[in-house]
Amino acid sequence: MVLMKMKFPFQKRVKLAQGLWLLSWCATVAGAITFTLGCILKTELRRRGEVMDNTDIHIVPNTLMIVGLASLGINYFAGKIGQDALDAGKFPRWKSLLKPYFAISSFFTVLMLLAVIMSYAMKGSLESSLKVGLRNGIRFYKDTDTPGRCFQKQNIDRLQMEFQCCGNNDFRDWFEVQWISNRYLDFSTKEVKDRIKSNVDGRYLVDGVPFSCCNPSSPRPCIQYHLMNNSAHYNYDYQTEELNIFIRGCREALVNYYMGLMNTIGAGVLSVFLLQASVLVSLRFLQTAMEALAGNENTEIETEGYLLEKGLKETIMEYLDPVLRFLLLKNQVQEGEGPDNTVNI
């Protein structure tokens, strides 16, 4: 059961080889582009690494970089093999390499597809990582004198200004933590003492947000403190006020940003995947067409090319057998049992 048999007259073989050479160079450039895209994504993820709790999401750019580098090698060899294919003298030296070559290149091509799928699948992991990271950032906002946490304030401020967001889910997250350091609180005043006594942990909680939550598009000067108190400000109603501070939460803003980036990169990588797959398919057809020619003196006859000699399932088993034998020692055990059985009978 041969998969996708096609007839190849001489002219068609020549054109296939030429097309393969051109395609392999395009695919090499595409591989370099994939590597660059992986680097860009990695850089962007590292820039905001401080508000992420874990680095699980980094597997996407890492895979892209590996696949990009591998595809440079794969397509370079595809070009060389394509060049040598029409020359009956040079082609045989590639024969022994072709089976492992196809195995490795199929593996990396499938890995490319997996990277794109992962970028969608890992959205939930990214969100939970950001949730924990931002919660810590907000909690340690006031600790500008604690080594290791002294830059949290600056990071969170710049993040909120750049992504135009406030808090984790929304601005109310700031009401639940003490974000003003004790160094700047006058403990002798009544107001401070009341607030500290008003909750179990003795924290100074305010219904206010840092200045980085302020929205420049607001028509009025920014109201940061006493946000829930309508009478504290003239002509102010917190239920209808929309433009004063940023409404969006930073987690949502960052997830949207990274998903947008990964969608764009994913679209590019999908087209690179299609290009790579077409290179491999053309090379396979060229190889089988040239092999059918073997031993024939007349190189201009028509030959048949195919994708797979046996069916898909049998081919996969054929490739996996040596791997399984190496890993599981499966066949060695079976060989050992055979002779014993026959003796007992």
Partner: protein, 362 residues
């Protein structure tokens, strides 16, 4: 490379033509580079056009755009001339244009030098323009309900955040204007009434700044209001407090930014000038060599190329005389009969003094 193989001269002339062809294409790329520099600079200036009062500084990117386009065309023509220089039949049609080409190319080099000089010379004008523009922006900050000025607040806020600056010269500029709109002032409260009465114009002035002046690098939450009152905030002394607000003024910040931008383009423009000059010199040598070869009987003989036929001073005198001749002829033409014998004698005299130029020495 030069594809025309007909009637080659000495090997050196051929190499010169090939080298010049490459050089002129490099010069075309440089022209494109200069053009894109001009586009980039123009876009950056237009982005902040709202805080600039006049557009005098735009002369720098405008010249860059013009020179970039002109030099792409000029150097493309140089490559065509070089391609045809190897072919005796096609070269003569360029002869007429070459003088004009040299004039245009020299003008382009002068313009590029002028751009470099202008980018330093116009710094004062840029500062003046920014000073007035920012002053207006700060004055109209509160007018978010006045058509035509309603975006000043957002513009100034985003500018102060992006360039990390506050006010025109420094943050105290905000103390002198009313930047809180009357719509948000409770005119019945005592504090507001006191402040309004405290000055002649009846403005609500305070020693406070907008939130966009706040510095994220400060270790304490931002203090925006009552900045000169040490008792209003715990553990605060305004004379020693450095990190709370941005210390730099926006005029300084913007001037530094634009000067930095124009300075960094300086070396690029200077190397473009050098490349253009080398194209001019090489083309002159090629032109004189080919013309000399065309004058010789045997095209395989060596011909000599030169920059100027006579010395620099004599060439200049000759050019001046030619120009004056053209002017004189234009003036003399209406009164032909009486003046003509004298004019002919004068011309003869001129021809006698101008001894025929020695043929190019082989």
């Amino acid at each position: 490379m030069c594809i025309v193989p007909v009637h080659t001269e000495s090997a050196e002339a051929v190499r010169l033509a090939q080298g010049l062809w490459l050089l002129s294409w490099l010069a075309v790329m440089c022209g494109a580079f200069v053009f894109s520099l001009g586009v980039y600079l123009k876009i950056e200036l237009l982005r902040r056009a709202e805080v600039m009062e006049n557009t005098e500084i735009h002369v720098v990117p405008n010249i860059l755009l013009l020179v970039g386009l002109a030099s792409m065309g000029t150097n493309w023509m140089a490559s065509r001339v070089c391609q045809d220089s190897m072919d005796m039949s096609r070269f003569p049609r360029w002869k007429v244009l070459l003088l004009a080409w040299f004039a245009v190319a020299a003008l382009l080099c002068c313009l590029l030098v002028a751009v470099v000089v202008l980018s330093y010379a116009l710094q004062g004008r840029l500062e003046e323009s920014l000073k007035i523009g920012l002053r207006n922006g700060i004055r109209f900050y509160k007018d978010t309900d006045v058509p035509g000025r309603c975006f000043q607040k957002e513009t100034i806020d985003r500018l102060q955040i992006e360039f990390r600056c506050c006010g025109n010269n420094n943050y105290k500029d905000w103390f002198e204007v009313q930047w809180v709109s009357n719509r948000y002032l409770d005119l019945t409260s005592k504090d507001v009434k006191d402040r309004i009465r405290s000055n002649v114009d009846g403005r609500f002035l305070l020693d406070g700044v907008p939130f966009s002046c706040c510095n994220p690098a400060s270790p304490r939450p931002c203090l925006q209001y009552q900045l000169t009152d040490n008792h209003a905030h715990f553990n605060y002394e305004y004379q020693t407090e450095e990190l709370n607000l941005y210390a730099r003024g926006c005029r300084q910040a913007l001037t530094d930014y634009y000067m930095g931008l124009m300075n960094s383009t300086g070396p690029g423009v200077l190397s473009v000038i050098l490349i253009q000059i080398s194209v001019i010199v090489s083309l002159r040598y090629l032109q004189t060599a080919v013309e000399g070869a065309m004058a010789l009987e045997n095209p395989e003989d060596e011909s000599v190329g030169y920059l100027l036929e006579k010395g620099l001073k004599e060439t200049f005198e000759e050019l001046k005389a030619k120009v004056l001749d053209m002017v004189k002829l234009a003036q003399v033409d209406p009164t032909t009969s009486e003046v003509s014998p004298e004019a002919q004698e004068a011309e003869k005299g001129d021809n006698a003094t101008k001894t025929p130029s020695p043929p190019p020495a082989s």
